[in-house]
């Protein structure tokens, strides 16, 4: 088979893997057995499909084949160790349910992905393990590729996944949609994992371009699946909207000099308008549920930028009000800095600086922001605009010290050199919101 044909088949397998693995885990209750059986089935598929053609229902075909392999593996294990056979009999019974050998055409693959997502994102697992397990099982990514995306050796990632699966087994983390008393916390955990996956692709600088792209695409795909599975949850639609609205601007967010371009200065013809439209539609669905949380407010901010007819027509007052709302829902110094930038664009640099002042006075936020480069860069810019040269100089110096991005460092050094020199008033404002690109 040629490389393209194989890649196409692998793509189909990856698309179906979440559905198939979830159904297998639901029926045998064992992540490892399900994964091994699935890998066996994939190997058979990649051998047969090129010869016999891709079956009409690949998920059903893979599920049926994997179930047979799981039963074989259990029987094999049972023969080798007579004693443990009894322990696995219930698994065998569940797998063989329905009697006889199921035919793919008649196999209905129940959608158990919601249970799988909730299990993989269980707060009893370490956050990095949740991300890895979700990508591995629902995303169908290989351990090697998950490891590459997060810049850790494959053996480290394999160990991390192994530990997580062991804990699921040993502590009996149930394969189940959570009860109402834990619902909010559990949904939040799932949303955080999906957003982390997307952001790892959106902001990572170490992984390759293709890997980063794959992570963004996977984050969006997971958000879409979750929105379909939980249509009544406003924050799920809002997350879906947020990742689409960010992703639509991916070609415009880095300038020719390699430095990030603020939203209101981006080349709008580079935005993907179809994706923006999808994002706005998802945001409308979120608003329709009547439940408004931090993801919806963030998506509303992204939408305010997206729907401004020109960068110069950005509705800064509305955006500043949205940041104020976000701060009420989710107080953090970083949100405050973004709010100050928006406020300065709406009402001038002094208004922005007034919002930053409490951060300077509070020892806890001072400590938090001491090494946070975007804060010092944003503050330097506001001080420069307000004509407070000495303070601006100190802030630029700190921002340059902390800067790890070469093009941005050059830009900041230029600004520092020009500072308060009446012969060179630099036009426009360079700084947008942090991470708003």
């Amino acid at each position: 088979m040629n490389g393209d044909g194989r890649a196409a088949l692998e793509q189909i397998v990856r698309e179906e893997s979440g559905l198939v693995l979830a159904a297998l885990i639901a029926s045998c209750g064992d992540f490892d057995l399900a994964e091994e059986a699935f890998q066996d089935a994939v190997a058979v598929a990649l051998e047969r499909w090129p010869r016999d053609g891709v079956p009409q229902r690949p998920a059903a075909w893979l599920t049926t084949a994997a179930r047979r392999r799981a039963i074989d593996r259990l029987r094999h294990d049972a023969m080798r160790a007579g004693k443990s056979a009894a322990l696995r009999e219930s698994e065998l019974a569940r797998l063989a349910e329905g009697g006889g050998e199921p035919e793919p055409e008649r196999t209905i693959v129940p959608d158990e992905r919601l249970r799988l997502i909730f299990t993989c994102c269980h707060p009893a697992l370490a956050p990095e393990a949740r991300v890895a397990l979700t990508l591995r099982t629902l995303g169908g990514l290989s351990t090697a590729s998950v490891a590459r995306s997060f810049l850790v050796p494959e053996a480290t990632m394999a160990k991390r996944l192994e530990r997580a699966k062991h804990k699921i087994r040993a502590a009996q983390i149930p394969f189940r949609v959570p009860a109402p008393d834990a619902w909010f916390e559990r949904v939040q955990s799932v949303l955080a994992v999906i957003y982390l996956i997307f952001n790892a692709g959106y902001s990572a600088t170490g992984a390759s371009r293709d890997e980063r792209r794959a992570l963004c695409a996977e984050g969006i795909r997971l958000a879409r699946i979750l929105a379909a599975l939980l249509p009544g949850e406003g924050e799920v639609h809002a997350l879906h909207a947020l990742v689409l609205l960010h992703d639509a601007r991916r070609d415009a967010r880095i300038g020719g000099d390699g430095a990030p371009v603020p939203l209101d200065q981006q080349e709008r013809t580079l935005w993907r308008h179809e994706e923006l439209g999808e994002g706005l539609a998802a945001l409308a669905r979120a608003a329709h549920t009547g439940d408004r949380g931090p993801y919806q407010v963030q998506a509303a901010i992204a939408a305010a930028h997206a729907t401004a007819p020109r960068g110069a027509a950005t509705p800064w007052r509305e955006i500043a009000a949205l940041y104020a709302e976000l701060e009420r829902l989710h107080p953090s110094p970083v949100v405050r800095v973004n709010r100050a930038v928006a406020e300065s664009r709406a009402s001038g640099p002094r208004a922005g600086l007034a919002l930053l002042e409490p951060l300077e006075l509070d020892p806890r936020s001072r400590a938090l922001l001491a090494d946070y480069q975007p804060y010092h860069a944003a503050r330097a810019d506001l001080l420069r605009q307000a004509g407070l040269c000495d303070e601006a100089r100190a802030a630029y110096t700190r921002a340059i010290e902390l800067c790890r991005d070469e093009p941005e460092r050059r830009f900041l050094e230029r600004r520092l050199a020009e500072l308060c020199d009446p012969s060179s008033r630099p036009p426009g404002d360079r700084y947008g919101e942090i991470g708003g690109g």
Binding site: H122, A124, A170, A171, Q172, I173, P174, R176, P178, A179, D181, A182
Partner: protein
């Protein structure tokens, strides 16, 4: 499946003013009763302060008995409960309702698959 709920608090709990301590004890008793009523309680103890602890461990070829807990930490094991429930989510639901969770930490640990009974 059996789970141990281990209660970690600072020792200040024992030096609370009597009225406050009584209130905490009442809350713990209510919680304990709800465990018993649900039929999940298998046992448990509230432990005396760590100043009363004695540790036994090997030192070379000998067994050494020393005064004090296993480790001197700010939060100490103040007690535990043994519960029997279907899965971790059920155990966590009980831990969430435990009054200790508001002032200290409730660690939830499953029994080992090769548990000795």
């Amino acid at each position: 499946m059996q789970y141990a709920l281990l209660f970690y608090t600072t020792e200040t709990f024992d030096s609370l003013p009597p009225a406050e301590r009584q209130d905490w004890l009442a809350q713990m008793n209510t919680w304990r009763k709800s465990l018993a009523d649900a039929g999940v309680l298998r046992g448990g103890l509230r432990l005396a302060p760590s100043a009363t602890a004695t540790s036994v461990r090997r030192d070379g070829d000998e067994l050494l008995v020393t005064d004090g807990p296993f480790a001197e930490t700010k939060e100490i094991l103040g007690g535990f409960m043994l519960i029997d429930c279907a899965d971790l989510d059920a155990a966590l639901a009980w831990a969430r309702r435990c009054p200790i969770a508001k002032i200290g930490t409730v660690e939830v640990r499953p029994e080992h698959p090769e548990a000795v009974r």
